[in-house]
C-alpha cells in the first residue's frame, strides 16, 4: 500500500521545529530520527514489492502545472542510505553532544533534521526548479553545520563554501531558466519527451553541469571541501562528507540516463568529465596521502572517491544497453562510500575525543584500548579500498566489468590505480591505531553509544557486500 | 474635459519643480543647500503630480489614497532631511 511520500519531507521539517523547544529536544531527536529511518526503510521495501516508478503529483496538479514526487528503484535505494546514515549519526550525536560541544548540541538537531528533510526531498523530487530550492536547503544547512564550532577556521571555510554554493545555485538556475525558455516544461519526465531530436538543450546543459560539478567538489572546484569538512564537529562532517556531496552526482546521472538524448556535444562533455574525474582521483589521493591530520585526510579522500562517479561518465553515455548494471554499480559505489566515510569520520571523532589531538601521529593505539573503534576503522577502510566481500569491492567489480565490456580500458585502469592509492592513504590510519607500542596509551573510555554507532556503520558498509543482490533488487525492477 | 487639461498642466508644473530640484542638487556646492533643494523642490513637485493624479481619477478611494501618499511623502522627506543634516553635523 503506497504511503504518501509527503511524510518523508514534512516529518523531518516538523522534527527540526520541535527540536527548538529545549524540554522536548532529546525526545523529538530520538523519536523522529527513528520514525524517519522507518519511513525510508518502508519506502525502500515498497520499491522491492510495489509497482514502481510511483508518481505522486502534489496538490493533484499533473506534470507541467504541478510538482511531482517520483519513487523508483534508485531513489528508494538512496532514501535507505540517507535513513541508515541519519539514524546512526543521530545515535552518535546523542552521547557526543553530552560529552563535548554542549552549546552547539542545542542547535545541532535543528540543522540535522533540516538536512535530512532536504536529502529526502532531493531524492524524491522530479521537478528541476524544485531541485534548485532543495539544493539551496542542503547547502545552507550544511553551511551552518560547518560554521557550528564557531572558531575562525570554521567560519572562513563556511564563508568560502557559501559563496561557491550560491554561485553554483545561480548557474543551475540559469540552466533551468534556459531549458524553460526553450521547452516550456520544468518536470524531468516531460522534458525527456520534448528533448528528443533537438539541440538547444546542449546550451542549457553547460551551466547545469558546471553547477553540479561545483556542488560535488569535482576537481577544479574542490578547494572548498577539505577545509569545510575537516573544521567542523565529527557528526556534522560525517553527514557532510557522506551525504551532502552525493545528490549533485545523483542528479547528473539521472539527467544523463533518463532525460538527455544522445548528442555529439554530450559525448565530448562525458570525455571532459571523465578526465576531470580521473584527475580528481589522482590529485585527491595524492593530497590525502600527504595529510598529517585524520580529518583533512578523510576530506581529501572524499574528493578522490567522488572522482569515481564522474570517471564513469562515458559509460553512462554509451552504456544505453547496460542501463540496469550501470545504475547498480553507481548506486553501490555511492552507498559504500557514504557508509564507510560516515563511520570513518565518527571513529575519527572518537579518536579526537580520546587523544584530544587531531594529527595522525598521535593516534592512540586503538587495537589495544578501544577494539570496537578500531574494527570500525578497519571495516570502513576496507570498503574504501574495495577489498573483497565489501560493497566497495562489488561496486568496483561491476564498474570494471562494464568498462571492459564497453571498451573503456582507461577508465578501468584509473579505477584500479585509484584503489591502490586509496590503500596508501588508509594504511597510515591502521598502522597508527594498530601500533604495538603507541606513543601514549589512552585508556579513558569512549561513551558506549559513540563507539557502537561508528562500528555498526562500518560493519554495515562491509557486510552489505554480501547482500547486494537483495539491496539492488529495487533498481533491477525499474 | 477641463479636468484632463488641468491635470496635464499640473503634471508639467510638477515635472518642472522636480527638474529644478535635481538641477539644484547638482549645481549647489554646499551639502546643506543641496539638502534644501532636494527636500523642498522635490516635495513641491511631487505635490503637484499627486494633485494632477487626483484630478484624473473619479473614484473617491483613489483620491483618498493619493492624499495619504502625499502626507507620507511630506513627513518622511522632512525626517530624512533632518536626519541627513543631523548626521552631517556630528560626523
Amino acid at each position: 500500500m503506497p504511503i504518501d511520500l509527503g511524510y518523508l519531507v514534512a516529518l523531518p521539517l516538523l522534527a527540526s521545529l520541535l527540536s527548538l523547544i529545549p524540554s522536548l529536544r532529546v525526545y523529538t531527536a530520538f523519536i523522529f530520527s527513528l520514525l524517519s529511518f522507518l519511513l525510508s526503510l518502508y519506502s525502500f521495501i515498497y520499491t522491492l514489492m510495489g509497482d514502481i516508478p510511483l508518481y505522486q503529483w502534489i496538490g493533484g496538479w499533473v506534470a507541467p502545472l504541478g510538482i511531482g514526487f517520483r519513487l523508483d528503484g534508485l531513489s528508494g535505494f538512496f532514501l535507505l542510505m540517507t535513513g541508515i546514515i541519519g539514524f546512526f549519526v543521530a545515535l552518535y550525536s546523542f552521547s557526543f553532544f553530552k560529552v563535548e560541544y554542549q552549546r552547539q548540541g542545542k542547535v545541532f538537531w535543528f540543522f540535522f533534521f533540516f538536512l535530512w528533510a532536504g536529502l529526502n526531498a532531493f531524492f524524491l523530487s522530479e521537478d528541476l526548479f524544485n531541485l534548485y530550492v532543495v539544493l539551496e536547503v542542503l547547502s545552507l544547512s550544511a553551511l551552518v553545520l560547518v560554521a557550528l564550532p564557531g572558531h575562525r577556521k570554521a567560519i572562513k571555510a563556511s564563508l568560502n563554501y557559501l559563496f561557491l554554493s550560491i554561485l553554483a545555485s545561480m548557474f543551475y538556475l540559469l540552466g533551468v531558466a534556459m531549458l524553460y525558455a526553450n521547452y516550456g516544461v520544468l518536470s524531468m519526465s516531460l522534458l525527456s519527451e520534448k528533448l528528443a531530436g533537438t539541440h538547444a538543450f546542449t546550451y542549457a546543459l553547460f551551466p547545469i553541469i558546471v553547477a553540479l560539478a561545483i556542488k560535488s567538489a569535482l576537481l577544479p572546484f574542490h578547494f572548498w571541501l577539505p577545509p569545510a569538512h575537516s573544521s567542523t564537529v565529527a557528526p556534522a562532517s560525517a553527514l557532510l562528507s557522506s551525504l551532502v556531496v552525493k545528490p549533485p552526482a545523483y542528479l547528473m546521472l539521472r539527467l544523463w540516463l533518463e532525460v538527455l538524448p544522445k548528442d555529439k556535444s554530450l559525448e565530448y562533455l562525458s570525455i571532459v568529465l571523465s578526465l576531470m574525474g580521473a584527475l580528481a582521483i589522482l590529485v585527491g589521493s595524492y593530497y590525502a596521502i600527504r595529510q598529517k591530520t585524520i580529518k583533512m585526510l578523510l576530506a581529501y579522500s572524499t574528493v578522490a572517491q567522488m572522482g569515481y562517479l564522474f570517471l564513469m561518465a562515458p559509460l553512462y553515455y554509451h552504456g544505453e544497453s547496460f542501463r540496469e548494471a550501470l545504475l547498480q554499480a553507481f548506486a553501490l559505489q555511492v552507498f559504500s562510500h557514504a557508509l564507510a566515510k560516515a563511520s570513518m569520520f565518527l571513529s575519527s571523532g572518537n579518536a579526537i575525543y580520546v587523544a584530544r589531538r587531531d594529527d595522525l601521529s598521535y593516534m592512540p593505539g586503538f587495537a589495544h584500548s578501544h577494539p570496537l573503534t578500531f574494527f570500525a576503522l578497519f571495516f570502513s577502510g576496507a570498503t574504501l579500498i574495495g577489498l573483497p566481500l565489501s560493497a566497495g569491492f562489488v561496486a568496483k567489480f561491476l564498474f570494471l566489468g562494464l568498462s571492459i565490456r564497453l571498451g573503456f580500458i582507461f577508465q578501468g585502469s584509473i579505477m584500479l590505480f585509484g584503489s591502490l592509492l586509496a590503500s596508501l592513504y588508509v594504511y597510515p590510519i591502521w598502522r597508527e591505531s594498530f601500533s604495538s607500542h603507541p606513543t601514549k596509551f589512552y585508556d579513558n573510555p569512549i561513551p558506549q553509544l559513540m563507539e557502537l554507532s561508528a562500528f555498526f556503520l562500518g560493519f554495515l558498509s562491509f557486510s552489505s557486500g554480501i547482500v547486494t543482490f537483495l539491496l539492488l533488487q529495487g533498481i533491477v525492477r525499474g | 474635459m477641463v479636468f484632463e487639461v488641468l491635470s496635464i498642466m499640473l503634471m508639467f508644473i510638477g515635472a518642472f519643480f522636480l527638474l529644478a530640484g535635481s538641477v539644484g542638487l547638482l549645481r549647489l556646492g554646499d551639502s546643506y543647500s543641496r539638502l534644501h533643494a532636494l527636500t523642498k523642490a522635490d516635495v513641491l513637485g511631487f505635490g503637484f503630480i499627486v494633485l494632477s493624479c487626483m484630478l484624473s481619477t473619479s473614484l473617491f478611494s483613489n483620491w483618498l489614497k493619493l492624499f495619504l501618499i502625499w502626507l507620507l511623502v511630506i513627513s518622511y522627506s522632512a525626517l530624512v532631511g533632518y536626519a541627513l543634516a543631523n548626521r552631517k553635523k556630528n560626523a
Partner: protein, 288 residues
C-alpha cells in the same frame, strides 16, 4: 525607448557598484540597482515581483550589506593579475557562448496557458499567487523552509555585535506614529494577494521594513523572546502541519479540496506573513 533608458541606467549602476573601490559607494549604487530592477519588473508587467524586489531584493538586502560596509577591510582577499586574466577570459567565453544561445529561444506560451485555464480551481484569483501557493505550493513550503533555516542559522552563530541604530527623539516618535499604519497596510497587502498584486511575502517584507524602522530608533518590541521565536517558526510549522493534515485526511500532501482551498490559502498566507516579517526583523537585529 523607455526600456533602453532603464536598461542603460541599470547597467551603469551595476558597473559602478561592482567597480568602485569605496564600499559605501558600491553599497549605495547597489540600492539604486535594486530600485531600478524593480522598475524594470514593472515595465515587464511583473508587478508582484516588482513589489518583492524593491522591498526584499534591494531595501532589506541593501540594509544587510550596509551593516558590513563600516566594519570590513577593503583588501581582505589577494587577487593576482593572473586571476584577473583568466576571469576575463572565462566571462568573455561565457558571453560568446550565451550569445549563440539567445536566438534559439522562440515565442511560445509555456505553462502559463494551463495556469489561466485552471485558475478557477485554485481558490485564488491572482495568477501568480495561485501558482505560488496552490499549483507549486511545495516550492513555497521549501522556500519558507530556506528563509527559516537561514535566520535560525544566523542566530545559531550567536553574533554578539550590536545592530546599527540611531536614537533620535524625532525618529522615535515618527516610527511610533507610523508603525500601526504599516502593520495595517501590510495586512491589507497580504489579503489583497488573493485578488490582485500582493501576497504573503510582499506583506511580510513590508512589515519587516516597518519593524526595522521601529527598531532603528533603538526601541525594542514589547514582545517576549519566546513569542518572537514562535512567530518566526509559524510560517514553516503551520504550512507543513496543514500539508500533513490534508495528507492524513486522505486528500494527499498539500492537496486542498476545492471548497476549503480559499480559507486554507488565506491562513497559510497569514502564517507566512507573520513569520517572514519577524524573520527579517531578527536578521536585522542579528540576535533575538
Amino acid at each position: 525607448m523607455l526600456d533602453f533608458a532603464l536598461g542603460i541606467m541599470l547597467l551603469s549602476s551595476a558597473l559602478v557598484s561592482l567597480h568602485s573601490k569605496d564600499l559605501m559607494k558600491s553599497g549605495v549604487f547597489f540600492l539604486i540597482f535594486g530600485f531600478l530592477s524593480g522598475l524594470i519588473w514593472v515595465r515587464l508587467e511583473a508587478f508582484d515581483v516588482a513589489l518583492v524586489e524593491i522591498i526584499l531584493g534591494s531595501a532589506i538586502t541593501g540594509f544587510l550589506i550596509f551593516k558590513l560596509v563600516k566594519g570590513s577591510k577593503r583588501r581582505a582577499l589577494r587577487v593576482s593579475a593572473f586571476t584577473k586574466a583568466w576571469a576575463g577570459l572565462v566571462s568573455l567565453l561565457f558571453f560568446l557562448f550565451m550569445l549563440f544561445y539567445l536566438p534559439t529561444i522562440e515565442r511560445q506560451d509555456r505553462v502559463g496557458r494551463l495556469v489561466y485555464e485552471n485558475l478557477h480551481k485554485s481558490g485564488v484569483e491572482s495568477a501568480v499567487n495561485a501558482v505560488l501557493l496552490n499549483f507549486r505550493g511545495y516550492d513555497t513550503l521549501l522556500e519558507v523552509g530556506v528563509i527559516t533555516l537561514a535566520i535560525f542559522g544566523l542566530l545559531a552563530l550567536e553574533l554578539k555585535r550590536e545592530a546599527y541604530h540611531w536614537d533620535n527623539p524625532l525618529l522615535q516618535s515618527f516610527s511610533k506614529l507610523l508603525l500601526p499604519f504599516i502593520v495595517f497596510f501590510s495586512l491589507y497587502i497580504t489579503y489583497l494577494g488573493t485578488f490582485s498584486v500582493g501576497g504573503a511575502f510582499q506583506g511580510g517584507a513590508l512589515l519587516a521594513g516597518g519593524l526595522v524602522f521601529f527598531a532603528l530608533a533603538k526601541q525594542s518590541l514589547p514582545l517576549k523572546k519566546s513569542l518572537i521565536l514562535l512567530f518566526m517558526a509559524t510560517g514553516l510549522g503551520f504550512f507543513s502541519l496543514v500539508g500533513l493534515f490534508y495528507a492524513l485526511l486522505g486528500y494527499g500532501f498539500l492537496t486542498y479540496p476545492l471548497k476549503l482551498s480559499t480559507l486554507t490559502l488565506i491562513f497559510i498566507e497569514l502564517s507566512i506573513w507573520i513569520s517572514t516579517a519577524f524573520l527579517l526583523y531578527t536578521a536585522y537585529k542579528g540576535k533575538l
